[in-house]
């Protein structure tokens, strides 16, 4: 069969391969090349070597580095809060209580709403609260920071909770039973059985929250737009503003994007390796 099928490349694979080349492969290769060039459109690129990369880190008093620092802080805080809260909710929702399904439905829903809309919903709420203190979210960077953390928790807790619920339900019941017969306390069961057994879910959830937080763009743009000044700009927004905010900086934007890509790839790789090794065999 393989032999006959082989002749059908044009029918089965070609449409996707062409689209993939136009939308991803060619722009990716061009992007790598353009990061070493000065250009305003892709047809007038002039090779400048590493100049863009040096500028990426030095212009605007290292705005890129402060965006990186803001992104890292935000990512660490939201990965921790989201996963802890989602796991706690999953524990509460796997006790066979009434209404479990309804709660699941409600908690998961914010995940389906798009980032721009989410950003404006929370801008209204947070500015509404801050109005009583006669201030707004774009007055202090810490307001924007915690605003983003709250927004991200609201969006992702339900999603991660669903994955943790699936993980908890996969734990064989006799394991729990054996432990309680042996006289294990609920906290011992939690730390010695439940948590080690849901490590695969932890891997997935950490990975998803990590990459989603690190690459955040829409929510950042809608909630604070990076303000006050550029103090709540995350990496993706900083790259966008470098590209489209200022003429002549397209190359610098592209260099930042390459650095961003390398960081995302490295995080994905290291994180998957690190948590995979903590998983226990089922």
């Amino acid at each position: 069969m393989q032999k006959t099928l082989k002749k059908y490349f044009a029918f089965f694979a070609l449409p996707t391969v062409i689209a993939f080349t136009i939308a991803f492969l060619a722009p990716f290769v061009m992007g790598l090349y353009l990061s070493f060039c000065k250009f305003t459109t892709i047809t007038n690129a002039k090779w400048v070597g590493f100049e863009n990369y040096i500028k990426a880190f030095t212009t605007d008093d290292g705005a890129f580095l402060s965006a990186l620092w803001f992104t890292v802080k935000f990512t660490v805080v939201s990965v921790l809060t989201i996963n802890i809260l989602a796991f706690a909710l999953a524990l509460l929702l796997t006790r066979g209580l009434k209404g479990t399904n309804l709660f699941r439905t409600v908690f998961f829903m914010p995940n389906l709403i798009g980032g721009i809309v989410l950003g404006y919903i929370w801008q209204l709420i947070i500015n509404g609260v801050l109005y009583y203190f006669e201030t707004t979210i774009t007055v202090k960077a810490s307001y924007g920071f915690w605003g983003l953390v709250i927004l991200m928790n609201w969006q992702l807790i339900g999603y991660m909770m669903i994955i943790y619920i699936a993980g908890i339900q996969n734990i064989p019941g006799d394991l729990m039973e054996a432990a309680s017969i042996d006289g294990a306390k609920p906290t011992q069961i939690l730390f010695k059985i439940t948590i080690p057994m849901v490590m695969p879910s932890v891997t997935i959830c950490t990975f998803l929250t990590l990459t989603n937080s690190f690459k955040l763009f829409d929510q950042n743009l809608a909630l604070t737009g990076g303000g006050p000044g550029t103090s709540t700009r995350m990496l993706a927004l900083d790259i966008y503003k470098t590209f489209y905010g200022r003429n002549g900086f397209e190359g610098v934007g592209q260099a930042k994007a390459v650095v961003f890509f390398i960081m995302v790839a490295a995080i994905a790789f290291i994180q998957l390796r690190a948590t995979r090794s903590k998983e226990v065999e089922n």
Partner: protein, 286 residues
């Protein structure tokens, strides 16, 4: 012991119930404000719109004024049409073409197919910012900067995850069925559409849901590629406050937020089971 457990359960139920209200509250506040005069949204966002004047304060309830303003200002009906068209057709294209591709590159073993597979997987970790500039330039050079052309970009950019998910499932289908069909005289096209694709249906639903959520909510790609002439819903919503429609109108923004959430909630409530299952399957395999 049993009584103790019961009180604990009641306490947990109350906590969960309070949390559920807290989760719904932001949406409720937006809904409430969408009926309030735009002058009062910033100053009293948590108050109900009042029907009657109260002392020195005028009535804040304005009926559907914000909705009418918002729909007119943002040309919302058009935005809704573009979003619906682009989502439906790009998801259709993605499901059809990536399932065909995934079957082909899993069944035909060669250097080309395995290279393709790794390229598709690789594309999943590349952030959009890496390709956004060159992609939007290539798109305008090839005249893909219209609602039909963008379908092609979505097929290309969405193919990584979709091919990956489909090939994971194709690997688990025993070859025997396809071989039997070959002996019976079916050609590969018949085999795919009559035998393989029906087996792939559960994965196809997952792929469709994941991509629909992505395309419907996507902001940057439609903004950069077709944002000047064709505004999808997220682009239109973002435009309400950024001044491209005149003065900042909080009332119109609230109304637009409500109408953009409604289709999502209807979609969610009508096929909730599939959505939750699909999203989990996508996460576990991705």
């Amino acid at each position: 012991m049993a009584a103790k457990k019961k009180t604990a359960n009641i306490a947990i139920f109350i906590i969960l119930f309070a949390l559920a209200l807290l989760f719904l509250y932001p949406i409720f506040v937006v809904l409430m404000n969408s009926f309030k005069s735009k002058l009062y949204i910033a100053t009293q966002p948590f108050a109900f719109p009042s029907l009657l004047p109260d002392g020195n304060n005028a009535a804040t309830f304005v009926g559907f004024t914000n909705y009418i303003n918002g729909i007119v200002k943002t040309n919302f009906m058009k935005a809704f049409g573009y979003s619906a068209f682009i989502t439906v057709f790009s998801v259709g294209l993605i499901v059809l073409f990536t399932s065909m591709t995934a079957w082909y590159i899993t069944r035909v073993k060669s250097r080309i197919t395995s290279t393709l597979y790794y390229l598709f997987v690789f594309s999943m970790i590349v952030p959009f910012q890496m390709v956004m500039f060159s992609m939007s330039k290539v798109a305008s050079m090839l005249h893909l900067d219209n609602p039909v052309g963008i379908l092609f970009l979505y097929l290309g950019f969405g193919s990584g995850l979709s091919v990956f998910m489909f090939s994971g499932f194709v690997k688990s289908i025993p070859l025997d069925i396809e071989e039997a069909a070959t002996i019976d005289g079916c050609n590969p096209i018949q085999i795919f559409f009559r035998i393989v694709f029906p087996i792939l249906k559960p994965t196809a639903i997952t792929v469709a849901i994941l991509n629909a959520m992505w395309v419907w909510n996507d902001y940057l790609l439609p903004l950069l590629v077709i944002g000047n002439d064709y505004k999808t819903i997220p682009v239109a919503v973002q435009g309400v406050l950024t001044g491209s429609y005149g003065s900042k109108d909080m009332g119109a923004l609230m109304a637009m937020l409500v109408i953009s959430i409604i289709p999502i909630i209807i979609f969610y409530l009508s096929c909730q089971k599939h959505i939750i299952k699909g999203v989990v399957a996508g996460a576990v395999k991705g």
